[in-house]
């Protein structure tokens, strides 16, 4: 039980990204949207534009700083939704058993057989692009893993004394599930959720990259990359920096998850 370097490196990265997001208006030298100026289109990195400009002459660093807000917000919000759904279903399935358990397991298997991004694409097709649709499309499609883990954990803990005594004292199922069981199985779930934030950020970026996520001209890291392929030859910095921001942020969450696992789940119940 000791905190390894993963925990600190991951936590440090996320802290930096969070500071960038919070203080974006103070840090960013230009406005992310209205600073468009074709005079300065596709300028390479310089003292004036630290990370260069895009095809509309907008400062890439400023857009990355504001984009951190979207990535972090969506990553966290989506993961909160997924975890809430997964844990509620998994807890109740493990606790009640019977037909409800069968049903939840069937549903989980179904979710696993449709790749998250495909499911999200289908939902985006129906709901149309934009932030609310993104939240729904990503927040309701990636809960299968936390559901499986919490169910398996409940099954191993259900027969233990503290659960039995809470039942005998006369606490209702909701109290037993969320007040007694949940704190005892939280370790592995926190690990899964932390890594899930990383995947949610990638999923959002992918959808925005395809033009089906955050509506332009709002700065989203994925969206900034959507026109990068065509400019790869003349302005490679358009492709490099937003992707680097994505990579480092997701790496931060994955390292934090690894570090938390060493700390909270030494037996590797969430190993993957």
């Amino acid at each position: 039980m000791k905190a390894g370097p993963n925990l600190y490196i991951g936590g440090g990265i996320i802290l930096l990204v969070a500071l960038l997001a919070i203080f974006a208006p103070l840090i960013a030298p230009y406005h992310p949207v209205t600073s468009a100026n074709l005079m300065y289109a596709e300028e390479p990195p310089s003292m004036q534009f630290w990370l260069g400009t895009d095809e509309q002459g907008r400062d890439i660093f400023s857009r990355i700083a504001y984009g951190a807000r979207i990535s972090l917000f969506i990553g966290l919000a989506v993961q909160v939704m997924n975890t809430a759904i997964g844990v509620s279903l998994g807890l109740s399935a493990g606790y009640f058993g019977g037909w409800w358990d069968e049903f939840v397991q069937g549903l989980t298997g179904l979710m696993l057989s449709i790749p998250t991004i495909v499911f999200a694409l289908a939902l985006m097709a129906i709901l149309g692009p934009g932030l609310p649709s993104l939240l729904i499309a990503l927040g309701m499609t990636d809960w299968a893993y936390s559901c499986r883990i919490s169910r398996a954990q409940v099954l191993t803990q259900k027969s233990l004394n503290y659960v039995q005594s809470a039942r005998i004292i006369g606490f209702g199922p909701l109290h037993v599930m969320f007040r007694e069981l949940l704190p005892n199985i939280a370790g592995p779930l926190i690990v899964v959720a932390t890594m899930g934030v990383g995947s949610a950020i990638i999923a959002e970026a992918s959808l925005s990259f395809l033009g089906l996520g955050v509506i332009p001209p709002n700065p989203s890291w994925g969206g900034m990359l959507s026109s990068a392929r065509e400019q790869l030859m003349i302005a490679p910095w358009v492709a490099v920096f937003p992707g680097l921001a994505l990579f480092v942020t997701v790496l931060g969450f994955n390292l934090l998850g690894d570090g938390l696992r060493d700390l909270l789940d030494p037996h590797g119940r969430t190993r993957r």
């Binding site: 057989s113 449709i114 790749p115 991004i117 970026a205 395809l210 089906l212 990359l225 392929r229 490099v240």
Partner: protein, 310 residues
């Protein structure tokens, strides 16, 4: 054994049916999907053309009738007619399935060939710098967004080194396949390296490995005869799951590399709100997943006697 297989097939069939119904209901219950997509495109379509189209496509029938028709057609291999191209969806899919399948096979080949040895060496040399380097590489591979990795590879190997074509399918040869396959294989490769390392470490601690040591065999024989196969059994599920979800996972990569597969059809159709094509593409992706997982179950019957006889 046969019973197990039949149960698997029944489960898969049920899943397919549920997915079909789900996709159908999702796209049908939301009102005005088809007309609004025409209007959203700002096409100059008169009201009675829309009505005639809707009539022709059977969109005015009650929902249960439409569902029954859809399932009946599906059973006969008829996936409906694309709204956008007016061609049968099955025709549109047939060529693309091969392209996607080829890409998925190449990607899983890359992932297995790199990920397995990497995880294996990391576990055997646990705690050494090789282990640290391999696992740092793996966590980076898990964190890198595929489409960005693709952009970087494209920049390096096509634009700078001029070794490989940037994108497209070409004449279907190897040179166009390499970059998208590596891009698509990065994340599964990283995951496999981690899973393999964990599996080998778990196996190394198993009692039967101690028994094997007590027999007095060389490390080489210990690894090849006792360790590798047992560890591989633990990794097989992960390989199957990764391969199975590859058609879905390749959606973004196919779009980036303009690969004419099921994934890019799905994205284009989502943009056009071409419901029959979307339904067809999703169906193919889910069927592929279920097929691969059934094959993995069958593979377990071969490699693991504990399952063979139970």
């Amino acid at each position: 054994m046969l019973q197990l297989l039949l149960r698997r097939l029944a489960q898969a069939a049920l899943t397919v049916f549920i997915v079909i119904s789900l996709v159908f209901v999702l796209f049908s219950v939301i009102p005005g999907t088809f007309t609004s997509s025409l209007q959203a495109d700002k096409r100059d379509v008169s009201q009675d053309v829309i009505e005639r189209l809707e009539d022709e496509l059977g969109l005015n029938d009650p929902l249960p009738v439409r569902f029954a028709n859809y399932v009946t057609d599906l059973a006969q291999g008829d996936l409906g007619v694309s709204y956008a191209t007016r061609r049968p969806v099955s025709d549109m899919l047939s060529g693309r399935i091969w392209a996607s399948f080829k890409l998925a096979c190449a990607a899983i080949f890359f992932a297995v060939c790199v990920g397995l040895p990497l995880g294996f060496i990391a576990a055997i040399r646990q705690g050494s710098w090789i282990d640290t380097a391999a696992m740092t590489f793996a966590v980076s591979g898990l964190s890198i967004p595929g489409f960005w990795a693709g952009l970087l590879l494209m920049y390096l190997f096509s634009l700078k080194l001029h070794l490989l074509p940037t994108f497209g399918y070409g004449s279907g040869g190897l040179s166009h396949l390499i970059l998208p396959a590596i891009t698509l294989g990065i994340a599964p490769m990283a995951l496999l390296a981690r899973t393999t390392r964990a599996a080998v470490l778990e196996t190394l601690n198993a009692d039967f490995i101690r028994t094997a040591r007590s027999k007095g065999m060389s490390e080489r024989r210990l690894v090849t005869r006792h360790l590798a196969r047992n560890a591989f059994v633990l990794v097989l599920t992960t390989i199957g799951l990764q391969f199975g979800s590859m058609l879905g996972g390749s959606v973004v990569i196919e779009k980036l590399f303009a690969w004419p597969g099921v994934g890019s059809l799905l994205i284009d159709s989502v943009g056009l709100r071409d419901i029959p094509a979307v339904q067809g593409a999703i169906l193919v992706i889910v069927l592929f997943f279920l097929l691969i997982n059934t094959l993995v179950d069958l593979a377990y019957l071969v490699v693991d006697p504990r399952i063979r006889y139970n």
